[in-house]
């Protein structure tokens, strides 16, 4: 710092220290308020309480976020539906890779999501890669060659969709193929994709490390509510899980009955230890 720095430089320096992401997109503040105006790189989620907890004020684009569920069907579609419905109505398509069950188009229409913009890709029928090709012997079929021996077809499909940049949003259910090197390949392909990308995993605990910059753990809270804990984000650790009210399914009477059943029951936390912002 030169002795005769002008006040303009001083104020600019102070502003950069307060908001380091203005200097480089890879910089972010570890402590302090994560809430900020929704920048160009986020999509509002439709839930004000969730936007307050997500860095930037919404779902991040061009990165692969992870949602950890105890089982499929706890409310993840209703959580993502406001943002995805807005994307679909704007004409972008949403691609689902290997969903755990059949997607019901009537339910999507009720959530405000046009079903025509929803594309489902199933790679389960593709033959699994088996290693380098063997030469043929008479009377035996010759196996086809593989360019990337060992890479499952589902990871390849998600990578192609991310790299092409044509999909509006990508939701992937990796299932058993959730391997770290596959996730690293998808992270490298994610910046080419102009929209949010989510990887939904069914896990018992969130302890397995993952390079995704945003990780959320979801648990059903009975009725139409969802316990949500941000396991990892670019910002301070989340102290208390968040209870979100999703799109209603039950009437008031049914909701009262559900609450009565769930009274006093708190689910076992998916997160065993408080997460630190630098835990990868």
């Amino acid at each position: 710092m030169t002795p005769n720095a002008t006040p303009v430089c001083e104020s600019r320096r102070a502003a950069l220290l307060c908001e380091p992401s203005g200097l480089h997109p890879g910089l972010w503040r570890a402590a302090g308020q994560p809430v900020g105006p929704a920048g160009a790189g986020v999509l509002p989620s439709g839930f004000a309480a969730l936007d307050a907890e997500l860095p930037g004020g919404g779902w991040p684009v061009r990165v692969l976020s992870e949602l950890l569920l105890p089982e499929p069907g706890v409310g993840e579609i209703r959580l993502l539906a406001p943002m995805l419905a807005r994307l679909a109505r704007a004409g972008r398509s949403v691609m689902l890779f290997d969903p755990p069950a059949e997607v019901n188009a009537v339910a999507l229409a009720e959530l405000g999501w046009p079903a025509g913009q929803c594309i489902v890709v199933r790679s389960a029928a593709a033959p699994a890669a088996s290693g380098p090709p063997r030469t043929s012997a008479p009377q035996r079929p010759v196996p086809a060659s593989r360019r990337a021996p060992g890479a499952p077809a589902s990871t390849w499909a998600v990578e192609q969709a991310l790299r092409s940049g044509q999909a509006g949003a990508v939701l992937a259910w990796p299932g058993r193929a959730a391997r770290p090197e596959a996730l690293r390949r998808l992270q490298l392909a994610a910046p080419a994709h102009e929209g949010p990308a989510f990887r939904l995993r069914v896990v018992a605990s969130a302890r397995q490390p993952s390079p995704a910059p945003l990780r959320l753990a979801l648990q059903p809270a009975g009725g139409d509510e969802l316990w949500l804990q941000v396991v990892k984000r670019r910002g301070p650790a989340m102290s208390q899980p968040l209870r979100l009210a999703l799109a209603p399914v039950l009437s008031e009477r049914a909701l009262a009955k559900a609450r009565a059943l769930q009274a006093g029951w708190r689910p076992a936390s998916l997160v065993d230890a408080p997460s630190r912002p630098f835990a990868a």
Binding site: G73, G112, W113, G116, I119, V120, S251
Partner: protein, 516 residues
């Protein structure tokens, strides 16, 4: 009349090398005909291999020489592909076997913006086919052909934009001037005539012109004089232009027996380049084609010992017609990657019966929704080529009360393009009545204490019953009472009870969906 001649001096060698693949480009290659070397590539020539040598001599000079057999059919197909590429510029294209092409471009000069632009566009069209070309233009066809043979590098675009038919034009004078110095044996019909010309000391075309015409006609026949007059332009030279065939069928024999699909890709690329050239000649685009794999027939005998058909066919259908060779190659590569070869492949064929005629749609300067849709379709084509025809599906709502039939799933390639517009959705989420996840098969649940149990936990019925009775008209009658249930862990489930109640021992409660 302005004739452009293309001379492809290494056509046969390049047609052979294209089938080897890019990894063998640096190896010495030669073609053999009747036990003698006929053509060599620059790498082999540097090692000392020359045309006219015997095989053994050539192999002694270059032990890793790749030898191929000279095949006039293969050369003819390669020449036809270049002719098709030129047909995009003018309708009058005449192939002159073994390795020449003529095109009359007087009428195309204004359309393409002048001679210089036309030459560069012709060069761009011929480059994907991978041949080195010597080009020349002249007012006469045969004159242009002879000049092209004499060139070492393509000539720069000259000021010849219009040339009249009178022979006092400076273009004609330049032509005659250049022709005088060319070798006379190029006009000779056979070896005997060549020997006779050399014996008589007639080395150039100028020498031939100075001889008395009656004497030349008596010694060599009328053919030589006719060729000379045609080159000089004093006698008309009617030529028959070719027309592109209505159906495309091309064949390529692989250099080595292909045991896996990677080895097929080089040959397939050659065939795809020819397909794209033919489609451009017909002013059409390609939407569907078929790759034929010719196997060794004796390995295809089935269990009873009868020899089956030794051709397998791979049909490839695209969502939208395209003239882009790279996209076709990408789709074919993905399709071949998941294909199981029944037997080793000896040669490939490519057939296209129905091109889509008509000009291509206009390109876009700024990305728009329509451009994104096309990009999405290309991505879907690639995914389908790799994962299977039914792997990529688009959803639509069908009006049916039965939940399992309310969602229509269509393969994305082949569905009409205006299926993109979905039904007008409600903007604010009302109370949801249907679950986001539906199990493909309803799962039976045990019943204890008059309530269904899932995984050892009782389900509490919160809402219902919603009675659905439908489907008596197509034999799939559904009579169910649907309830929204909650598992003790918290998620909401959609279960139903059969109506009328099934007999004792059979499950009456089923899990059909989860509210995601």
């Amino acid at each position: 009349m302005l004739w452009v001649a293309l001379h492809l001096p290494a056509l046969s060698l390049e047609a052979f090398s294209a089938l080897l693949g890019p990894d063998k480009a640096a190896q010495p290659t030669a073609l053999v005909a009747q036990h003698r070397i006929e053509a060599v590539n620059p790498v082999a020539a540097a090692l000392g291999v020359a045309p006219g040598m015997k095989r053994a001599t050539a192999l002694a000079l270059a032990p890793d020489l790749l030898l191929g057999v000279a095949d006039p059919l293969r050369d003819a197909e390669a020449l036809q592909a270049v002719a098709h590429a030129l047909l995009a510029f003018t309708p009058t294209v005449v192939p002159v076997p073994p390795c020449g092409l003529l095109a009359e471009v007087q009428a195309s000069l204004r359309c393409f913006g002048g001679a210089a632009r036309l030459w560069s566009r012709m060069a761009d069209a011929v480059v994907p086919l991978g041949h080195c070309v010597q080009r020349a233009h002249a007012p006469t066809a045969l004159g242009a052909l002879l000049l092209a043979r004499a060139r070492d590098e393509p000539e720069p675009p000259s000021h010849l934009t219009r040339s009249a038919l009178c022979s006092s034009d400076p273009a004609w004078a330049a032509l005659h001037q250049h022709l005088l110095g060319l070798p006379a044996v190029w006009l000779a019909a056979d070896e005997a005539a060549c020997a006779q010309l050399e014996a008589m000391g007639l080395r150039t075309l100028g020498d031939l012109r100075r001889q008395p015409r009656a004497g030349l006609a008596r010694r060599f026949g009328p053919g030589l004089l006719l060729a000379l007059d045609r080159a000089w332009g004093t006698v008309p030279d009617p030529l028959e232009p070719i027309a592109p065939p209505l159906r495309f069928h091309s064949h390529a024999e692989l250099w080595a027996r292909a045991d896996d699909t990677d080895a097929l890709l080089a040959g397939a690329q050659v065939l795809l380049a020819r397909l794209v050239a033919w489609a451009q000649a017909r002013h059409a685009r390609v939407q569907s084609f078929a790759l034929l794999l010719h196997h060794e027939s004796r390995l295809r005998a089935n269990a009873q010992g009868e020899a089956g058909a030794h051709v397998s066919r791979l049909d490839i259908v695209l969502a939208e017609p395209t003239g882009d060779a790279r996209h076709l190659h990408a789709v074919l590569r993905e399709r071949l990657a998941r294909e199981l070869l029944a037997a080793p492949v000896l040669s490939l064929g490519l057939v296209c019966d129905t091109p889509v005629l008509g000009p291509p749609p206009d390109g876009e300067l700024f990305p728009s929704l329509a451009g994104q849709r096309e990009g999405l379709l290309r991505l879907a084509e690639r995914l389908q080529a790799r994962l299977g025809a039914d792997a990529v599906q688009r959803l639509a709502v069908q009006a049916d009360h039965r939940p399992e039939r309310a969602t229509l799933r269509q393969a994305i390639v082949g569905s009409p393009p205006d299926a993109m517009a979905g039904t007008a959705p409600q903007s604010a989420p009302q109370r949801l009545t249907r679950p986001a996840w539906l199990l493909p098969e309803p799962r039976p649940l045990p019943e204890r204490q008059a309530r269904p149990w899932l995984d050892g936990q009782p389900l509490h019925l919160l809402a219902g019953p919603e009675r659905i009775e439908s489907g008596w008209w197509d034999g799939d009658l559904v009579c169910r009472d649907y309830f929204i249930a909650q598992a003790p862990a918290g998620p909401l489930l959609w279960v139903y009870r059969l109506r009328p109640a099934p007999p004792q021992g059979e499950p009456g409660w089923f899990l059909h969906g989860r509210f995601g």
